[in-house]
Structure formats: structure tokens, C-alpha cells
């Protein structure tokens, strides 16, 4: 078959990835750095598909966001262990440095921030939905004169915060952490994200380019609330992790 010459053919083959570094993030989540020879680079917000194949040929495939900006052949993921989760419990509990798996990517050209956009940015993350958003935060730190970033991050308890120290030390990043189960160090009682949380975070005067990521129900809730507050739908980009993800 011939291909239309005008459309860039996407190369999405599976590549072998070797785990080279593992860092604990919370008691139930860890960051795994893979070495992926020939990795073409990626934009903040993109993800990979990971494939695990057992010796009898059975394979399972899941998507994981890339947790850090492009850095040669290194691809960093942060994975939350779900109770009974087939792939996440392997990645969090069993994988050791030196292990190999297959991944493909980078995937996704919509939920991305390149650093060339000038609009203020509002980031809204639920649970492990912080992962692609953290890459945007880290990407921002690499550029001169970045636009203002505001982050609303919803987690169950203080023990569930990813990248805690780093979030608190990023200059020019306005971070509010919302606790859904057990609050700490805040006057806001524990509870799900609501209209007041969003109203307080939205920059006044203009709509911010908004990225929402987390469990599907979290993303739906936040999108509906922002639209109800009159935000232009064209400024909102979402990524749904599915029923899981934790928050």
C-alpha cells in the first residue's frame, strides 16, 4: 500500500526499556527511570504504552504518563500501585533495576505544553494525575520568562503527595494542595474539590490554559465546574486515567 506523502508517518514501534533507577515517591508509588536506546524525545504531557509479556506469551498493556521532560534516552514514569492492579503492582512491587519491558511512544499531541505558549496556565491534578502535570512544571523551570503557573492538586492524605519537597521549592509556582480524606496544615476541611477551590485558583481577568488530569470522575467534575464558572471550553485540555488513579 502507498501512503499519502503529505502525512507524517508516525513511528510507534515497541522498544525495549531497561530500568536503571528506582525512587520511592510515596508508600504506594514509585518513580522508575528507564533507559530506552534511540528514544526520540517527547513533550510535557505525553505518555507511553507499557507492555508486559509473560513467558507463556500472555501480555498486558497500560498507559503511563512521562514524569520528566526530555533527557536523552531516559524515560521516567511514576506509578501508583492499585490493590489487585495487574500491571501497577508489578511495576511498584516487583520490578528491579536491570529488568526490561517493552514500551512505545511518545503518544499524544493534545494534552501537551511545549513552553512556547504565553498564556497563564492552570493545572488541576487528582492523585496520580499529577504525573504529566509535573512534567509541565519541570519543563517550565527550564525556560526563561515562563508564564505564571497555578497548581491545584487533590490527594487523599498528606502521605499521598507526590514530589512534595520539589513542589514546595519551585519558584514562581503557586501550589494549593487539597486533601480529600485527611487535611493537614490548612483551614480547608478535607473534602472533594469544589467550586470555591477552583474560583480561588483561577487567575482573574482572563482564562488560563487549563490542564486537568486524574481519575475520570475527577476530570469530569472539574471540567463541569470550570465551564459553570464561565471558562471558555477552548482553553481546557483534559486527560482521563480511567476509574483508577487514586485521589
Amino acid at each position: 500500500m502507498t501512503e499519502p506523502a503529505t502525512i507524517a508517518r508516525l513511528r510507534l514501534g515497541w522498544r525495549v526499556a531497561t530500568a536503571v533507577e528506582i525512587r520511592e515517591v510515596t508508600p504506594t508509588a514509585r518513580t522508575i527511570v528507564f533507559d530506552v536506546p534511540g528514544w526520540p524525545g517527547h513533550a510535557a504531557g505525553q505518555h507511553v504504552d507499557v507492555k508486559l509479556t509473560s513467558s507463556d506469551g500472555y501480555s498486558a498493556q497500560r498507559s503511563y504518563s512521562i514524569a520528566a521532560p526530555a533527557d536523552g534516552d531516559r524515560v521516567e514514569l511514576t506509578v501508583q500501585r492499585l490493590p489487585g492492579g495487574e500491571v501497577s503492582s508489578y511495576l511498584v512491587d516487583e520490578l528491579v533495576v536491570g529488568d526490561q519491558l517493552e514500551l512505545r511512544g511518545p503518544i499524544g499531541g493534545w494534552f501537551t505544553w511545549h513552553g512556547t505558549e504565553t498564556m497563564p496556565v492552570l493545572l488541576v491534578a487528582g492523585g496520580s494525575g499529577i504525573v504529566p502535570i509535573m512534567t509541565m512544571v519541570r519543563q517550565r523551570a527550564r525556560i526563561a520568562d515562563p508564564p505564571p503557573f497555578t497548581l491545584l492538586y487533590s490527594v487523599r492524605t498528606p502521605a499521598d503527595i507526590y514530589y512534595d519537597a520539589e513542589l514546595r521549592s519551585r519558584p514562581g509556582l503557586d501550589v494549593t494542595i487539597l486533601f480529600t480524606r485527611k487535611a493537614f496544615g490548612t483551614n480547608r476541611p478535607a473534602g472533594r474539590i469544589g467550586p470555591d477551590d477552583l474560583a480561588a485558583a483561577r487567575p482573574s481577568g482572563m482564562d488560563a490554559r487549563t490542564y486537568i488530569c486524574g481519575p475520570t470522575s475527577f476530570v469530569e467534575t472539574v471540567s463541569v465546574l470550570l465551564l459553570a464558572q464561565g471558562q471558555n471550553p477552548g482553553t481546557i485540555r483534559t486527560e482521563r486515567f480511567g476509574p483508577s488513579g487514586g485521589r
Partner: protein, 95 residues
């Protein structure tokens, strides 16, 4: 079985791997016009259910836009629920 509920789906971003592989281009920025309600939507915003294959539904009316069934050797992409598919050409400005 895919039932319409509020949380058991992902979106076109999450399903971009298999759809992009089958289409040979980044699927997320493709604009699909729903054959039922005529709303154009970016594939990134479709609701995607994992059932009999991956089923992408219109974010407006939830009608099926497309269905992808993958086997180890083939990808079957059924797009009869989309009246048209618009794909940006390289050289245009990415948005």
C-alpha cells in the same frame, strides 16, 4: 461489555497509542464529525470504552464514532460513525 457510566471510560488521549498505530498518525488531533449529531470533536476528547475492542464515542451524544479491534497481526478500525475525519498536515502550525 461497555456501559455508559461516568467513570469507566478514558478519553482519546489515553487511547491514542492503539488508534495512532492503526491510523499511522497522531490520532489525538484528528477531528471527527459525528455521523449522528454532526458535532466535530477532537479525537482527544472522545470518550473511549474498553469492551468489544476499543470504542470511541461522541462527547456530545455518546453515539459510537469508531471501534478498534487489535489482533497480534492486524488492527481493524471501523469508523462508520464518523461522517468525516480531518487531519492537519505537517507544515501547518501545531496548536
Amino acid at each position: 461489555m461497555s456501559t455508559i457510566s461516568d467513570s469507566d471510560h478514558i478519553d482519546g488521549n489515553g487511547a491514542a497509542g492503539p488508534f495512532s498505530e492503526a491510523l499511522g498518525i497522531d490520532a489525538t488531533n484528528a477531528v471527527l464529525t459525528c455521523a449522528r449529531c454532526a458535532r466535530p470533536s477532537r479525537f482527544a476528547e472522545a470518550r473511549v470504552y474498553d469492551g468489544a475492542g476499543l470504542v470511541a464515542r461522541c462527547p456530545e451524544c455518546t453515539s459510537v464514532l469508531g471501534r478498534l479491534v487489535s489482533t497480534p497481526t492486524d488492527a481493524w478500525l471501523d469508523l462508520r460513525g464518523a461522517a468525516s475525519i480531518r487531519v492537519a498536515l505537517p507544515g501547518g502550525t501545531p496548536r
